[in-house]
Subunit: 105 residues, 2 copies
DNA sequence: GTCTAGGTTCGATCGTTCTCGTACCTCCCC
DNA sequence: GGGGAGGTACGAGAACGATCGAACCTAGAC
């Protein structure tokens, strides 16, 4: 196993609403999702997110976001890039992201 | 204290999004909310909800729904009536309920 | 080779949540 | 008065989630 873990992404059709809502219920994760949503097409380095939590806790949140189908992660060199699964989410949960984003705009 | 507990309802402005999303993340609670949302103006007897859980567990979920600002409960005689806080929710979290409802229609 | 920055894994703690059964209360009907 | 239906309170157990620190790995820069 490499230092960058196997980045397993679920099929969006296997994700259920409870999982997504649970993922979005955490303020740290929601902040990440909303920052990504401001520039949905753009990939961003995970390390650039400023969160008042430990490194290992971030790893935990990345996994939750990934496994809930909200984000796509890609290993580049030594680091991680993250991106919203915008199209998948629009198709599977239409309106959800826009609504949440509008609520905290 | 009467058999019907003190039904404390939070001011809708004191409710935050995390709490609401957490409340909606539970399938049983979401089912209740969605059934109420099909007839938003109408009060319904709590006892008429068919859920595969114990009585005391229901009491727990009523409290969560109440304290998350999603529903309003009223004691009538020996029982409880429940109703969506539709107007409050529309104002505080516009679009949220409609989006969730559309997602599981 | 060394050092650093980005990440993971592990183990643990702490709080919360869902769940239940039991006991109890109270309104209402007979 | 007695009984049933609707609900609460309490106590407990199991599962989960957020959090951390320490140890470790890897890629890249120097």
């Amino acid at each position: 196993m490499t230092a960058v873990a196997g980045l397993a992404h679920p099929d969006i059709d296997d994700v259920d609403l409870s999982t997504v809502l649970l993922a979005l219920a955490d303020p740290h994760r929601r902040q990440v999702v909303l920052e990504l949503a401001r520039d949905p097409k753009t990939e961003r380095q995970c390390a650039t997110f400023v969160l008042p939590i430990a490194k290992s806790t971030k790893t935990h949140h990345w996994r939750v976001l990934r496994e809930s189908g909200l984000v796509y992660q890609r290993a580049v060199g030594n680091g991680l890039y993250i991106r919203l699964r915008e199209d998948d989410l629009k198709r599977r949960f239409p309106g959800l992201l826009d609504t949440i984003a509008a609520l905290e705009a």
